[in-house]
Symmetry: C2
Subunit: 134 residues, 2 copies
Amino acid sequence: MESQDLKKAGLKATLPRIKILQIMEESEHRHMSAEDVYKALLDSNEQVGLATVYRVLTQFEAAGLVIRHHFDSGHSVFELDRGSHHDHMVCLKTGRVIEFKDDEIERIQREIAARHGYIIEDHSLVLYVKPRED
Amino acid sequence: MESQDLKKAGLKATLPRIKILQIMEESEHRHMSAEDVYKALLDSNEQVGLATVYRVLTQFEAAGLVIRHHFDSGHSVFELDRGSHHDHMVCLKTGRVIEFKDDEIERIQREIAARHGYIIEDHSLVLYVKPRED
DNA sequence: ATGCCTGCAAAGCTTTTGCAGATGC
DNA sequence: GCATCTGCAAAAGCTTTGCAGGCAT
């Protein structure tokens, strides 16, 4: 039940929030822009303002429910935080987003940061790729 | 001589372009936003419009003279392309940007892309870090 | 009941664009 | 001289915010 997740996150279980959470859970695209979410709401005949979508997504981010990515395009993309960290590969031809994770890379990253006297708080790794058979 | 670089890149050697190239070469910060460049121009008593800065930086990017990064902040930062690829570490406390490169990480990245049937066109790796002695 | 939410419209920021005049070659 | 470039101001995205009314608890 979404209302539980919301309350657990310290957010009142309002209709827009519940709907947005549902949209993101049910969407076939795990990465959605605010506009994408807004359009999906309209498609479901939900009356929610775009400003509210932005506000809710920002609150979700603060609450750790979603992760905000920037990729390379000047606008934000949101993804439900299912708890398992991973990196992304974006196909330049189709726009498809593939998730992956590699412990070896993560290990080396920590090592490099440490070598400079730092601790990693977060990181962003995006591979921009194209199909091999081009 | 900057005008040579510009002509080689197929761009007319105009004053704004030359000045912007100089600014970026001489700045102690290798990563500058359009606004940063614009302010630096004003500080040097150069009369160049902000729109021109954006236009020139975009042309430079297309010409391969600079690289545009997005990091995580909703605005672009530009860096002179000195030919040697590297990744970035951004200190969350001071904003300092450190460059690094690791062949092992690069190798694994290519391997992962290949495993999914892709070839890497480009990639972006940014570590958001904080000093160890916090 | 009351304090947190929402919708709308307006404003904010970064970046782009149209146009007339200026400049490089 | 002519095409390209620049400055200005206006516009265009994306995102945030102020305010008056609405909703969850």
